[in-house]
């Protein structure tokens, strides 16, 4: 739930500025983060926890890669494609990254239109974001099937360290699951926006609470996080 704020009540008490203000807000009653709704605070803390999950995955991968005694397959060769007879390294990954980062742009626009209560544009932009996300997952499926066809398995591959395949499938799989969940949430929220649930204050099916346009932003937080995680996976897995 994100209870609407009462701006008038905020002005009644003068608050110190700067560092003292930060401390005063933190220690003050009712809310540590003023102007942060419950839903948004919860999403931020969840993302912090999720950061540790991806951090552990990536550190585990890096330690495996650094300690392996057999050669690690060269990612720019493994992920190269022949396009029209031209050998282009990492091209698919580049397109995937481009698509995902573009989706963050459309998501940000959806948040903007959501707060303007422009139902059509918000829903349309969320659908576009979901479409980008689905495209990303689709290309990942293509990449997986290509690698599997070339003989990469969780327990081994033709080019070197067995951990290459296992970390690849695990990390991209876990990230792809996040994207898929994000797409599903985007579709659900887009439907609610389209139907005008947040204007009519229709209650949620499970929670029986009224929704607000803020949920678009909260979904956006998750979506940008998944995007950011991909940047790290891209840097550490593909570019290293």
């Amino acid at each position: 739930m994100s209870a609407p704020l009462k701006p008038s009540s905020m002005e009644t008490l003068p608050r110190p500025s700067g560092l003292a203000g930060l401390a005063a807000d933190w220690a003050s009653d009712q809310r540590a983060f003023k102007n942060v709704s419950w839903g948004k605070a919860m999403m931020w803390i969840f993302l912090l926890s999720d950061t540790f999950i991806f951090g552990c995955f990536l550190i585990a991968y890096m330690s495996a890669r650094m300690s392996t005694t057999v050669p690690w397959p060269n990612p720019s060769e493994v992920f190269a494609l022949e396009i029209g007879g031209v050998h282009v390294p990492l091209i698919l990954i580049a397109i995937m990254t481009f698509v995902l980062i573009s989706s963050s742009g459309t998501m940000a626009m959806a948040v903007n239109y959501g707060y303007r209560r422009d139902r059509r544009k918000t829903a349309a932009l969320m659908l576009i974001t979901a479409l980008f996300g689905a495209t990303f997952v689709g290309m990942q499926a293509f990449e997986w099937s290509k690698l599997i066809a070339e003989g990469v398995r969780p327990w081994g591959n033709p080019w070197g360290a067995a951990q290459f395949g296992s970390t690849f499938f695990m990390i991209t799989g876990f990230h792809g699951t996040h994207v898929t969940i994000g797409v599903i949430f985007l579709l659900i929220i887009a439907r609610k926006v389209w139907r005008g649930d947040f204007d009519t204050e229709r209650r949620g099916f499970f929670t029986s609470r009224k929704g607000h346009y803020e949920i678009v932003e909260i979904t956006g937080l998750y979506w940008h996080f998944v995007d950011l995680v991909w940047v790290f996976i891209f840097a550490f897995f593909y570019l290293w």
Binding site: M1, A41, F52, C56, P154, G165, M170, F206
Partner: protein, 592 residues
């Protein structure tokens, strides 16, 4: 709403958030079973945790029977013994202690103590319990699966955890264990997010962070740590599950079994240990910090004195929480590591003694010249302080690399962590149940039965774990099914083992008295009234006892003072509730 004034120049800020709308249950099912009320969820959590904890208690009996009287009970063979060890440890640490402190006490006390109507997201909170229940059922299922539960030891170290000679290694045991942990972490996250957001963003008017009872501080710091530490266990479980099911080699080096080369190669068992202990060490404090917080409130209330050094207590909790995230490799001194790492982790480990000692001194100074009522919660709180100091002192031995190496993997370690992480938090749990049972049910627990339970449990657990230190110093290794004819084991160790086992059986049986008391007092206990302990914190000021759904009736409470206004000079009573405005004077808190 009008602004309420409390004394000279001290205004309580107006409400920033509208009062929440609660889900109103329409049927028996949504009221008592699929309830979104944090208090019902808390009781569900607690009952499930205690039920599975009883299983772990029986397992410890079986282990002690084997150790005390070897060759007597033929059904406890080596395989079963390892399964008992593993399940006992895992259940006690995660499914009992973590779930009971955070899911049980967290759910019941946080909304009441911070003056909220409920957790911020009651639906997710409800899911948290049901997912926890699924995790428990998956865990229990492993007892009935082919091959039985895993016998890898509660730390589940690879490679042995998934090899075929370990019980459950090539059967269902390890798969169900890892799955259950993954499910538990998912469920816990849903609850944990709720606890943190409720404390940060859902407090009552006037309830500043520095007015919160230490119980809330302990629980919320532990929850934050759990949200950051459980991911490492999650990752470790996922990777080991892949090693077992898909044949990946994350943790599995090239290894031969029964003269046969396995398909694994290139993995690092040490990586698992790092991931596991990055979770495992904070886990100690995830259990200890709520206990610290609760015991502070018990001592203050039952000694009728404000807690000594409240601010220092808060900062000690936070500092312990932070430090405990950077000490994990002290569990791995014998795994082999760079000596400088050993130095680093030994240093951070020993530094934790500083904030911990601050807390112990402050508890003792709170008792100093207090009006000590030897009620049952107070007895358990005092027992906790003694036990925790004992367990903490042996921690200084084990935290030093050179001293740890010979003591590693002996019964000394078992005695140490059972004192500090087993007995001490359990004593707090008992004390807390005796303390808050009147609020939960409206009736007092029986005093005579409680005294019986306390003395047997307290003295009995010393009878169990004090001799165990000696057994460990002699060099008896832990996790051995049978000591056999080892020359270095003197006869006295065998006699002590028999003594310890008898004590363990008695202490375990005494818990039946406690369970009987819980059930019996529900009907026959003395009527408690709203505030039997004459305590200041908000949960005792609810209009009704037990508090109904929504806790506070029409008006949310407004907080005017800190949680420890006991024996204030000049006050008509020896306690002033947190929601009582000051009579025209600056409150005591401002003066201190």
């Amino acid at each position: 709403m009008v602004d309420v004034r409390s004394g000279i120049g001290e205004a309580v800020p107006p409400a920033e958030v509208e009062d929440v709308e609660l889900y109103h249950p329409h049927s028996w099912w949504t009221r008592y079973v699929f309830s979104q009320d944090a208090k019902v969820i808390a009781i569900q959590y607690a009952m499930t945790a205690i039920a599975i904890g009883m299983v772990a208690l029986v397992l410890s009996w079986l282990m002690r029977l084997q150790l005390g009287f070897p060759d007597t009970f033929t059904f406890i063979d080596a395989e079963r013994y390892y399964q008992f060890i593993t399940m006992h440890g895992m259940i006690m640490v995660i499914y009992l202690l973590t779930a009971l402190f955070l899911g049980g006490f967290g759910n019941y006390l946080i909304p009441l103590m911070v003056g909220a109507r409920d957790m911020v997201f009651p639906y997710a909170n409800m899911l948290s319990y049901w997912i926890y229940l699924v995790a428990v059922l998956v865990l229990v299922a492993s007892f009935f699966a082919p091959g039985g539960p895993t016998g890898a030891g509660w730390t589940l170290y690879p490679p042995q955890a998934i090899l075929s000679n370990t019980p459950g290694g090539k059967d269902w045991g390890i798969i169900l264990m890892l799955s259950s942990l993954i499910i538990f972490i998912i469920g816990f996250t849903m609850g944990g997010l709720n606890y943190v957001v409720t404390v940060l963003q859902g407090r009552a008017r006037g309830m500043t962070l520095m007015r919160m009872p230490l119980t809330v501080w302990g629980i919320v710091t532990a929850t934050v740590m759990a949200l950051l530490a459980f991911p490492a266990l999650f990752v470790a479980c996922v990777m080991m599950l892949f090693d077992r099911l898909l044949g990946t080699s994350f943790f599995m080096p090239a290894i031969a079994e029964m003269g046969e080369q396995l398909q694994y190669g290139g993995g690092s068992p040490i990586l698992f240990q790092h991931l596991f202990w990055f979770f495992g060490h904070p886990e100690v404090y995830i259990v200890a910090l709520p206990a610290f917080g609760i015991v502070s409130d018990l001592i203050s209330t039952h000694a009728r004195k404000n807690i000594f050094g409240y601010r220092m207590m808060v900062w000690a909790i936070v500092v312990i929480g932070g430090l405990s995230m950077v000490v994990w490799a002290h569990h791995m001194y014998v795994s082999g590591m760079n000596p400088y790492f050993g130095f680093f982790f030994a240093t951070t480990t020993l530094i934790i003694a500083v904030p911990t000692a601050i807390k112990v001194y402050n508890w003792v100074l709170t008792l100093w010249r207090g009006n000590i009522h030897l009620t049952l919660p107070m007895l358990f709180a005092l027992a906790f302080i003694v036990t925790f100091v004992n367990g903490g002192l042996t921690g200084l031995f084990l935290g030093n690399v050179v001293v740890d190496v010979p003591l590693s993997d002996t019964m000394f370690v078992v005695a140490h962590f059972h004192m500090v992480m087993g007995v001490a938090p359990i004593l707090v749990i008992f004390g807390a149940i005796y303390h808050w049972y009147p609020k939960i049910t409206g009736r007092m627990l029986n005093e005579a039965l409680g005294q019986l339970h306390f003395w047997i449990t307290f003295l009995g657990s010393y009878a169990i774990f004090f001799p165990m230190h000696y057994v460990g110093l002699v060099g008896v290794p832990r996790r051995y099914h049978d000591l056999g004819e080892a020359a270095f084991v003197p006869e006295s160790v065998h006699s002590l083992n028999a003594f310890i086992s008898v004590a363990a059986l008695i202490v375990g049986a005494a818990q039946i008295v406690f369970l009987f008391n819980l059930v019996w007092s529900l009907r026959h206990g003395r009527e408690a009234g709203g505030n039997p302990w004459r305590a200041t914190t908000l949960e005792w000021q609810t209009p009704e006892t037990p508090p109904p759904h929504g806790n506070w009736g029409k008006e949310l409470p407004v907080v005017y003072r800190w949680a420890y206004d006991y024996s204030v000079p000049g006050a008509p009573e020896d306690f002033i509730p947190q929601n009582q405005p000051a009579p025209g004077r600056v409150s005591h808190e401002a003066a201190s």
